[in-house]
Structures are given as C-alpha cells and as structure tokens.
C-alpha cells in the first residue's frame, strides 16, 4: 500500500493544539528557557508530561506533572511527539514561543524530513486506498470503540418483534 512521505498534517495539528491548550491554560508543565537553553518535554502515551531542564544556573532536573492554574511563563518550549502513520511510527518536534501567556510563534520540525511550519493548517491533498482486515478487538490495546451508534431499547425490541414475525 502507498504510504504518505510527509508526516500527517492532522497529527501535527493535534500536537500543536495540545501544546497551545497547555500554554493557554497556563499549565506549568514546560519550563521556561533562557536564551541559552531550551527545555524539552516529551509527550508520552500516558498523557503525562515530564520536563528536564538543562539550565546550568540551576543544574537541577524537575519533573512536574500536569497541573492547572499556574501561569505559563514567557519563553520557548519544545516538545517531541511520537505519532502513527500508515507507514509506521514517526515523530515531530514542535517549538512554541510564549509571551504574556500568548503563543507568539510556532514552528514544527518533522522527522525525518525538515518541516513546513504552515503544513499543520492545510487540508489533505490526497487520499489513499487499501484493503483492510478486521482484527480481534481483544487483541488490541484500546480505550474505546467507534462505529455505528448503539440503538435504544425501544428500537431493539421493535427489531426483535419484526424478526419474530418474519419467522412466524
């Protein structure tokens, strides 16, 4: 099957939205950087964020967990986010600059190719086609399932009735 050669725009937008939401909500997960250092945080699949600072002045590492309410300090933040593409796992790096609690710039660097910082806003240009198979739902790690909506008891009873009538 064909695989896209560029990372998916939507996962980039998801990561950016997450980071913008973090910045907008004033969550002090990412640490402030001085012009000489950049704090790095990693978005993990358990939704917790850890931060390591390499600030020589403090020479300490801190690992705050997500908390709401603290002001988002001015500075530059970088996050690395893994994501899935039909072709396999990939990752990208997003850098935000925040001033006065407002994100003033975003740039995205995509691995392995260098990124286009406007890409996350654009719509898809191509669709792909492939055959799919069903896998046993119990063999996959899931939090929930999306498909046809469950029906109400009223509908289910009615369905049973007409099936019974058809058999009669």
């Amino acid at each position: 099957m064909e695989s896209p050669t560029k990372p998916n725009a939507a996962i980039i937008s998801i990561v950016v939205v997450v980071l913008l939401a973090v910045a907008a909500a004033g969550v002090s997960v990412l640490t402030k950087s001085t012009p000489d250092t950049v704090a790095t945080s990693t978005v993990t699949s358990s939704s917790s964020m850890t931060v390591q600072t390499s600030n020589p002045a403090t020479s300490s590492t801190s690992t705050p967990t997500m908390s709401m309410g603290a002001a988002c300090k001015d500075g530059t933040y970088t996050a690395n986010a893994p994501y899935l593409t039909p072709g396999g796992r990939d990752s990208l790096s997003v850098t935000l600059a925040v001033a006065n609690n407002i994100v003033t710039s975003v740039s995205i660097s995509q691995n392995p190719t260098s990124g286009d910082s406007e890409r996350y806003q654009s719509a898809f240009e191509r669709s792909y086609k492939t055959s799919v198979v069903g896998k046993d739902i119990n063999s996959i790690d899931l939090s929930r399932v999306s498909g046809a909506s469950l029906t109400s008891n009223g509908f289910n009873s009615a369905l049973d009735t007409i099936k019974n009538n058809a058999r009669a």
């Binding site: 939401a21 899935l84 593409t85 669709s127 792909y128 046993d136 046809a148």
Partner: protein, 286 residues
C-alpha cells in the same frame, strides 16, 4: 486508572462522559437540562417535541437561538452534497419504516423528499413552513449536541472525554486509543485512531438496520438507503462538523468537502477496501 464517569441514555443511544475529577453537580444538572431541551426540540420520536408539531401543521416556529448554527451547517452540507443531506429527510425515513413507533415496515408508497427552500425558509432561528414537514437532524445532531456538552464542560476547566456511542470529543490531557469497529463483525476492528483534543465521529449502517438493504442513511434521490459504503470515520475540530462529514461521505466524495472543512477521514466500502486521507492519524490493518 479509574476515571469518574457518567453513563446515561439520551437521544436514542448510550453515552459515557469521563472527567478527571467528578463533574460538579451544577454542571451535571445544567447538562441534563440542556440535553432534555435539545430532545424536546429536535426529536421526532416524541409527540411533544417542536419538530413533531411542525410535522402536523404548516406555520412559523421559533427554535432556540443556537439553531441558526445547526441549520446553517445543514444548509452548507445540503449544497455540498447537492441536496442529498437534508433536514427534510424525516418523512422518507418514516416511510421506509424508521418512524416514531419503530414499525420498521416500509410503506408501499414512498414520496419524494421536498426540496429545501421550496417549502421551508429560515430567518435566524425562526423557521417558516408552507406544509407539514418531518425534520430529522440525525446527520449532524449528535455531533452538535456533543459540542454543546463540551461547551458546558469547558467552563469547568478540566479534561474530559465525551462518548456519544462512537461519536466523541476529547479535551485536555486525555489520550484515547479508539478502535474502528468493523461493521461486518463487531468483535473486530479494522484500525486504531489516536485522539487528543479533537472530535471523532463514526457512521455505519449495520445497527440501525431493519431489513434487506434497509438502514438509516437514506438517499432522497433514490428514495432508498445508500449502498456501497459501510462505514465512515472523520476527525475535525468540532463534533458537529465531524458528524456532518461522516454522513456526507456516504453521499459524496471527499474532494467535494475539502475546500470547506479541515478534516481527516476513513471510508470503508462494501468490497472491503478503505479510502483514507493522507493526513489520517492512525493505523489501518492490512
């Protein structure tokens, strides 16, 4: 990790809402009242609803203020699908059997679906009709309701996951791995999508189905349920848009929709192939 969760039935299906901390009582009350108001306005399955009155008699009817957004979105999809997605689909659904009594028996005579604009006009949230009309907002309505619930939960400033039976919206530090249910066999999934801070809607034909080829996604041009597509999934910024697009993809091609909306999609066809957008952020099992 156990999350506080709220489970209830509403608008004909099962809901789960998870929040990091238990929902405030005031928020929960406001939400339940809002859902009841929504049902009492838009449900064609209850005799006391506004749409049931509109089905009885022509006239001028005042919907809640935000109906202008819902109907505005419908008008956009109506144009994009060349009339196939229409809020006036209700009577056709009834005649095919999906009526308020769940008779699930198709009528012998099926009538044409009125053209939007010929018998109904809108000024803001005020609708005027020239004949009895059965309004059904199922193509977008659940997503729209999810967005309204999200707006209430946003005010509480905590992460949440709203699952209206396969149509979802997540916000905050929540990460969900969603299985794409195989409509041919619900014990199987055809792929996985990872969800953070976005909406996902899935549409499929195998549950709300009541006979040979009879299901709830019906084409006003053929006067019968659609064929060819088994299921669609769409992610978009709002659940209303995701829901509308998931329905629209039964009627039209993604190229017709991409200029109006930013979205990702997967569409499963009867022959077992899927089409998916290049920005689809998940895994399909091949």
């Amino acid at each position: 990790m156990h999350e506080p969760s709220l489970r209830f039935e509403a608008i004909g299906t099962q809901w789960v809402i998870e929040t990091d901390n238990p929902m405030r009582a005031a928020t929960k009350d406001a939400m339940m009242n809002m859902i009841e108001d929504f049902d009492k306005t838009y449900s064609r399955f209850r005799a006391d609803s506004l749409v049931s009155k509109i089905a009885q008699q022509a006239g001028t009817y005042v919907f809640p203020d935000d109906a202008r957004d819902l109907f505005g979105l419908y008008e956009q999809f109506y144009t994009l699908t060349e009339g196939k997605m229409t809020p006036l689909i209700g009577h056709l659904l009834e005649e095919l059997g999906y009526d308020a009594q769940y008779s699930l028996q198709p009528q012998s005579t099926i009538h044409q679906v009125p053209v939007l604009g010929s018998v109904i006009s809108r000024q803001g949230s005020v609708i005027t009709t020239t004949e009895p009309l059965v309004i059904d907002i199922g193509a977008i309505g659940k997503g729209y309701l999810i967005d309204k619930i999200a707006a209430l939960l946003d005010a509480d400033s905590q992460p949440y996951m709203i699952d209206g039976s396969g149509d979802m919206r997540v916000c905050g530090n929540r990460y969900e791995r969603i299985g794409l249910e195989d409509p041919r066999n619900p014990s199987r999934i055809i792929g996985v999508i990872e969800l953070t801070n976005t909406s996902l809607c899935g549409s499929a034909v195998q549950r709300r189905a009541w006979g040979d080829g009879l299901h709830h996604i019906v084409d006003p041009d053929t006067l019968s349920p659609t064929t060819g597509t088994l299921a669609t999934w769409v992610t978009a910024k709002t659940a209303a848009i995701a829901d509308g697009l998931a329905t629209a993809l039964f009627f039209t091609e993604p190229e017709q929709l991409v200029d109006d909306f930013d979205f990702t999609y997967v569409r499963l066809l009867e022959d077992g192939t899927v089409e998916y957008s290049e920005n689809f952020t998940g895994e399909l099992f091949t």
